[in-house]
């Protein structure tokens, strides 16, 4: 296998601005095929924005976002929708359709994109639900699920079409320790069993470093560090160290930029 085909997603010189505010400024990233890549960084650094750029929901100001050799920002609307059938995405809010039950939520992409018979869809949906441990919850409505269960149903839906890669947006946020443990196990299991590529965007350091094969740390509009989880843990650069060890003050300042203190009080 050549080096190029080992990289599923290649991001080069990516710049993205929200109005005049830079979110990314010259970011380079490689997401290796078949691996779990963690993208970590403090809140508000644009991690979710990065996933939306990969999914083509946002267009970068400059730079390329290549998914399997196709530059996403240059694709037409139809091509983009076609490429998205090969992507899975787990949203932070699970984003289940609230007017249909768990079974129909998982069946949704199958009904939209395939001509499979009802009995085949039934079997596939139950297999996906079994994989996330919720076969018994198939007739529940989304409002009857706990946060962790909703995220697992969303995961079953995201893998319904056996995508090439799956993007997890803050999968561990707001989860209890058991749900978090289940998700960590599922992410690894599904990645390996389905031969997928996974991208986890998160600021939960222990869980992400525990499950990822390779990690990027983003802050101040740039990639400030990358490497294997062990290399990131041992990284001595001040920014990465502050984030990984959770130090309240450092190069990422405790105070939001403000006028000098005297100007406000004197």
């Amino acid at each position: 296998m050549t080096e190029q085909s080992d990289i599923l997603i290649k991001i080069r010189d990516l710049s993205f601005f929200r109005e005049a505010r830079p979110i990314f400024d010259g970011v380079n990233l490689d997401i290796p095929r078949g691996k779990i890549t963690g993208i970590m960084g403090p809140s508000g650094t644009g991690k979710t924005t990065l996933l939306r750029l990969i999914g083509g929901q946002l267009r970068p100001n400059t730079g390329t976002v290549e998914v399997d050799g196709r530059n996403i920002p240059t694709l037409s609307r139809d091509q983009l929708y076609h490429v998205r059938e090969r992507m899975g995405m787990l949203f932070q809010s699970a984003a289940l359709f609230t007017d249909i039950d768990v079974f129909e939520n998982v069946a949704f992409p199958l009904r939209e994109h395939t001509d499979l018979s009802d009995s085949m869809i039934h079997d596939l949906v139950l297999m996906k639900l079994e994989a996330v441990g919720l076969r018994g919850a198939r007739r529940l409505m989304p409002h009857e699920l706990s946060g962790g269960m909703a995220r697992r149903v969303a995961l079953a839906r995201a893998i319904a079409l056996d995508p090439d890669f799956i993007m997890y947006d803050e999968p561990f946020a707001g989860q209890d320790p058991i749900a978090m443990g289940i998700l960590v196990k599922l992410i690894r299991l599904l990645n390996d069993a389905l031969n997928m590529t996974s991208i986890i965007v998160s600021h939960d350091i222990d869980e992400t470093l525990g499950v990822a094969d390779y990690v990027y740390v983003i802050a101040n509009n740039k990639v400030i560090g990358h490497g294997t989880p062990d290399a990131i843990r041992a990284d001595e650069s001040p920014r990465v160290k502050q984030f990984i060890r959770g130090l309240p003050d450092g190069l990422v300042p405790f105070h939001y930029p403000a006028e000098p203190l005297e100007d406000d009080f004197l």
């Binding site: 939306r52 999914g55 929901q57 929708y81 076609h82 998205r84 059938e85 899975g88 359709f97």
Partner: protein
């Protein structure tokens, strides 16, 4: 002076841009290869929630408005000894104006606001984004069936409104106040012209249906995805729709009946 002119120009351009966006939004939702089987299923579901759920408010309001028209009409006409013209007055008022306009105002309040809130919440809970990421165009899947459902429902609801209201005025005028039944129906039949009155009323409600659902789905789609943003969008739907209905009603009336 120059500043205020500049601000005025900016505001004008921004309104034009919004109209342009809203137009493009609707065209992208409606133009394209239709999936007949799926589209029909989605349409029926939306017809149920947009149309059937609006039925009660339309029927009850229609009945009361008809009864009030019967009562007021009788008390005015009886002074001139012309209470036999009650049927004519009530039917023309309802078919030409009150039916389409009041049904549209009620529809904007009941179904338009619900559409905006539903789509806005789908946006806030990332359901629209998740559709996009599944390779399903939310404009075609979510917006188009809701638009067509509103477009089909309102003319039917307006007809039902007028029919119920005419029956309400019949109850009050004929059965309670004693207007001759033959005069009530006979004069109505003689005065109402299908093309001039009934069809023009239906055309009005077709236009109102398009405008209300367009405003409602657009406001939901562009709503700021916060609770405050959805609240504001829902209010905008009701206010903009109501003003659009009343403004357009004047224009349509001027075109349809202006020469008389």
């Amino acid at each position: 002076m120059i500043r205020s002119l500049q601000r005025f120009g900016h505001a004008g351009l921004s309104v034009c841009a919004k109209f342009g966006w809203a137009g493009l939004f609707l065209v992208s939702a409606l133009v394209g290869r239709p999936n007949v089987v799926l589209g029909f299923k989605l349409l029926v579901k939306q017809l149920y929630s947009v149309g059937v759920f609006s039925l009660i408010i339309i029927v009850v309001s229609g009945l009361f408005i008809g009864m009030v028209l019967g009562l007021q009409g009788y008390s005015i006409l009886v002074d001139f000894g012309a209470e036999s013209a009650l049927g004519t007055m009530v039917s023309l008022t309802l078919l030409r104006e009150l039916g389409p306009v009041v049904a549209a105002l009620l529809f904007a309040g009941r179904a338009g606001s619900a559409l905006t809130a539903e789509i806005g919440l789908m946006k806030a809970t990332e359901q629209l984004s998740s559709l996009e990421m599944m390779g399903v165009d939310p404009l075609r899947r979510i917006i188009a069936p809701r638009f067509w459902a509103g477009q089909i429902s309102l003319p039917i609801l307006a007809i039902i409104f007028s029919v119920v209201a005419i029956y309400g005025s019949y109850m009050v005028g004929v059965q309670w106040l004693g207007v001759s039944e033959g005069a009530f129906w006979g004069n109505m039949r003689a005065a109402v012209d299908f093309r001039e009155d009934t069809l023009n009323g239906i055309i009005k409600s077709v236009v109102f249906g398009a405008v209300i659902t367009w405003i409602a789905v657009y406001q939901g789609y562009v709503a700021e995805p916060t609770s405050e943003g959805i609240g504001r969008a829902t209010t905008r739907t009701v206010v903009h729709s109501s003003l659009a209905i009343l403004g357009l009603d004047f224009l349509l009336t001027a075109v349809m009946f202006g020469e008389v």
